[in-house]
């Protein structure tokens, strides 16, 4: 970044509006809030900017008050920075964080290259997958069937899916440069209500689960939704690329604790969305399609499972809802298990998160472009919820969530930036729009 002459620092600082009449009065909190939320008219915005250009105090207020949805490395700053002060750091070049510095860019370029190679190989699996004997798929189906409605961690760990990565070595080896070697690629489609539990974190650093609604050649493993008999109907065909059919409304991916691992599993809705790095841009997301099922009642719930849980330092059993503190920093939902001493990223979605609400172990968080997630276990697992009614889907920014404590399923009220109010009286299964 270019430096300016020191005289500019001096003159910028000298222009502070101290005691210079009512026209210099500080904007009130309402105006500053509206400014930070880009909700002011052009005239008002110019007026506020005029003041902010001169008033370091108000700039500090705005900087502290802004939700900071896109600010990079805020979680890291939270770990290192003790107390933020209002002391100006002028006079000496400030320690700026350059996101586009070459050391970062070269990794981005490398990751992009790897992603391209990986996508080509995935789209045209060709010979890579043929090497897998058909019996392997049967083995997966048998194990999965035996495990009941839950795809337990150990079967996956020991299943040929894990070992099938040898067939994809060309991909895995390259991807391994950008992410942990223990990563497991697991394209699947899951039945409704299923909870997919990845293996122990010691063995599985990151799991990217693809739900691919594939062609007739795809392997189909169907699992019963809950206590009913689970029938995994395996067909041989693609070898390493197993596909489990899902008619699920929500698929949760349960994560065992790890301080260093992250897990991402997504079911993709018809609209393909870009994968976003969970931490430091090294995470490669995979996209998958999920069949949506009509929810009971008139409303229809489309569900998409996007989960990115990283750095969950404590075991789930130790996570008590009353000890958990939540905050949103840089558009990422963070939680603290020790009254704010340490923060972990609990959820990073494709779009910045803006608000959250929690009640006991129920946590809801919403963000831009109708992003809405629900966790029923204090943020261990997340399921994306897409509220919709017959003709309309919630696509505007979610600015507020209210979880009302009523007997039975929680009542959820979601407010949006365009003043819509969506509510669900059955814990998010069906929705009404006011």
């Amino acid at each position: 970044m270019s430096e300016v002459p020191k005289i500019v620092y001096d003159r910028l600082r000298a222009a502070l509006p101290e005691g210079t009449g009512p026209e210099r009065a500080h904007p009130d909190a309402d105006l500053l809030t509206a400014f930070a939320e880009q909700a002011l008219s052009v005239t008002e915005r110019d007026g506020v900017l005029e003041h902010l250009a001169l008033c370091g105090e108000c700039r500090e207020v705005v900087a502290l008050a802004i939700p900071a949805a896109d600010i990079v490395a805020a979680p890291l700053a939270a770990e290192t920075e003790v107390v933020r002060t209002t002391v100006s750091r002028a006079g000496a070049p400030a320690p700026h964080k350059l996101s586009f510095a070459w050391p970062s860019l070269r990794w981005v370029a490398l990751a992009a290259g790897v992603a391209i190679v990986a996508s080509v190989l995935l789209v045209h699996p060709g010979k890579l997958n043929r090497a897998m004997p058909p019996s392997a798929n049967r083995q997966v189906a048998t194990i999965a069937s035996a495990s009941g409605p839950q795809i337990a961690s150990s079967p996956i760990e020991s299943s040929p899916i894990a070992s099938s990565s040898t067939n994809q070595s060309a991909v895995s080896t390259k991807i391994g440069e950008a992410r942990p070697k223990s990563e497991l690629r697991l394209p699947k489609k899951l039945k409704a209500g299923q909870v997919m539990t990845p293996p122990h974190q010691a063995d599985l650093g990151r799991l990217i689960a693809d739900n691919k609604k594939d062609s007739s050649q795809a392997d189909k493993l169907s699992a019963a939704p809950s206590a009913g008999a689970s029938a995994f109907d395996a067909q041989t065909g693609r070898g390493a690329t197993e596909t489990v059919e899902v008619s699920a409304a929500a698929v949760a991916v349960e994560v065992a604790p790890s301080a260093e691992r992250s897990l991402t599993a997504r079911n993709e809705t018809p609209a393909i969305e870009k994968a976003k790095p969970a931490r430091q841009g090294i995470e490669a997301n995979e996209q998958q399609e999920t069949e949506t099922a009509a929810a009971p009642g008139s409303a229809r719930l489309q569900a998409r499972n996007v989960m990115s849980a990283s750095k969950l330092a404590l075991p789930a059993s130790q996570t008590s809802a009353r000890n958990v503190t939540w905050t949103i920093t840089a558009g990422v939902l963070q939680r603290s298990l020790d009254s704010g001493q340490n923060w972990q990223n609990a959820l990073r979605a494709d779009h910045p998160l803006l608000c959250y609400a929690s009640h006991d172990e129920d946590v809801w968080t919403g963000g831009q472009a109708g992003t809405l997630f629900h966790s029923a276990d204090s943020g261990i697992t997340w399921a994306q919820v897409r509220p919709s009614i017959k003709t309309q889907q919630l696509i505007s920014d979610i600015t507020h969530i209210d979880v009302r404590d009523v007997p039975g399923p929680a009542e959820i009220v979601v407010s949006t930036s365009n003043n819509e109010i969506w509510s669900s009286a059955d814990g998010g299964k069906t929705w009404e729009k006011k």
Partner: protein, 314 residues
């Protein structure tokens, strides 16, 4: 004309806004809510320079753009409605603590800050025997959550400023601060004053030509040390846009200042020299050289941090 006093279409609008706000759930009547809207309209339109030209439709649009539900909740809380407070607590109590942690980065201070703000919101302090809740100042221009965050940030900065003013006399005595001679100021730079003034004038002129947004960007980056991402988020831009803008501003400022200096009779070489060899640097270097020569710093200028107070100066 206030919304509450309108008939026909205006009354319909007011009724629609009232229904949308859900204020009835908090026992706020339609008349009370209309009065709240009128008060907000007065605040924003009466102070505006062209308020006289604001039509009823413009006012209705303005009201429709407010966060009506949150406004109703805030005003109902300010009015002491019990259900409103229950809703407020369930929605924001924990968030307040999270916000405070985000701002203070310290658990103890966060709890103190959040509790203090909560007390202000509840209206613990009574004025003329009337409990005055801070929520009465919320007008619904932005989200209630954002407003709470802003108010909390203001409170945090006010506290910091107060603490900054408090100086420990004991610490000052220990380091000999009260005996320190006055800083000579700019007397040493007397000979450079003329060129200094010309440089200042040229810089002021160059800065004045910039837009408010550009000056805000410059001040945020160079004075406050904000990151590109923070500035981008504040202005609703992309980081790379801010980066390019800063580069452009830095280059443009240099050119304008040089041009300004030349307009004041300096040659190009003199202007470039004046800009590069800033007297502030000379002054600073002189000070640092003197400090190095003198060795131990007997009378430090600043306040000694508390943890070093017992060690004395070295």
């Amino acid at each position: 004309m206030p919304i509450s006093a309108q008939s026909g279409h205006g009354a319909d609008v007011a009724a629609a806004l009232y229904i949308r706000s859900g204020a009835a759930a908090y026992d706020v009547s339609a008349e009370q809510f209309a009065a709240i809207l009128d008060e907000i309209l007065r605040k924003y339109f009466d102070s505006a320079p062209n308020s006289a030209h604001a039509s009823v439709e413009q006012k209705a649009d303005f009201c429709a753009g407010l966060r009506l539900e949150e406004l109703a909740l805030a005003r109902a809380c300010a009015g002491g409605n019990e259900r409103a407070w229950q809703d407020f607590i369930s929605r924001y109590r924990q968030k307040l603590h999270g916000m405070a942690l985000h701002i203070t980065r310290d658990g103890a201070h966060a709890a103190e800050l959040a509790d203090s703000l909560f007390a202000d919101l509840y209206g613990v302090n009574a004025r003329d025997g009337v409990r005055r809740s801070k929520l009465v100042f919320y007008t619904g221009r932005g989200s209630l959550e954002g407003w709470l965050r802003t108010v909390m940030a203001q409170e945090f900065i006010n506290r910091y400023r107060k603490q900054k003013r408090m100086v420990s006399l004991e610490e000052q005595t220990e380091v000999g601060m009260q005996f320190a001679a006055a800083v000579p100021g700019s007397a040493c730079a007397f000979s450079d004053r003329t060129s200094d003034q010309r440089l200042e004038a040229a810089t002021d002129e160059a800065l004045a030509e910039l837009s408010a947004e550009d000056r805000f960007t410059l001040a945020s980056y160079y004075l406050d040390g904000r990151t590109l991402a923070e500035i981008a988020r504040t202005l609703g831009l992309h980081e790379s846009s801010v980066s390019r803008r800063l580069d452009r501003l830095a280059a443009g400022l240099r050119k304008r200042i040089l041009a300004g200096l030349r307009m004041q009779g300096m040659s190009h070489a003199q202007a470039a020299e004046a800009l590069e060899t800033d007297v502030r640097d000379l002054r600073l270097n002189l000070r640092s050289s003197l400090m190095q020569d003198s060795g131990a710093k007997t009378f430090p200028e600043g306040k000694v941090p508390a943890q070093d107070a017992g060690k004395g100066s070295n």
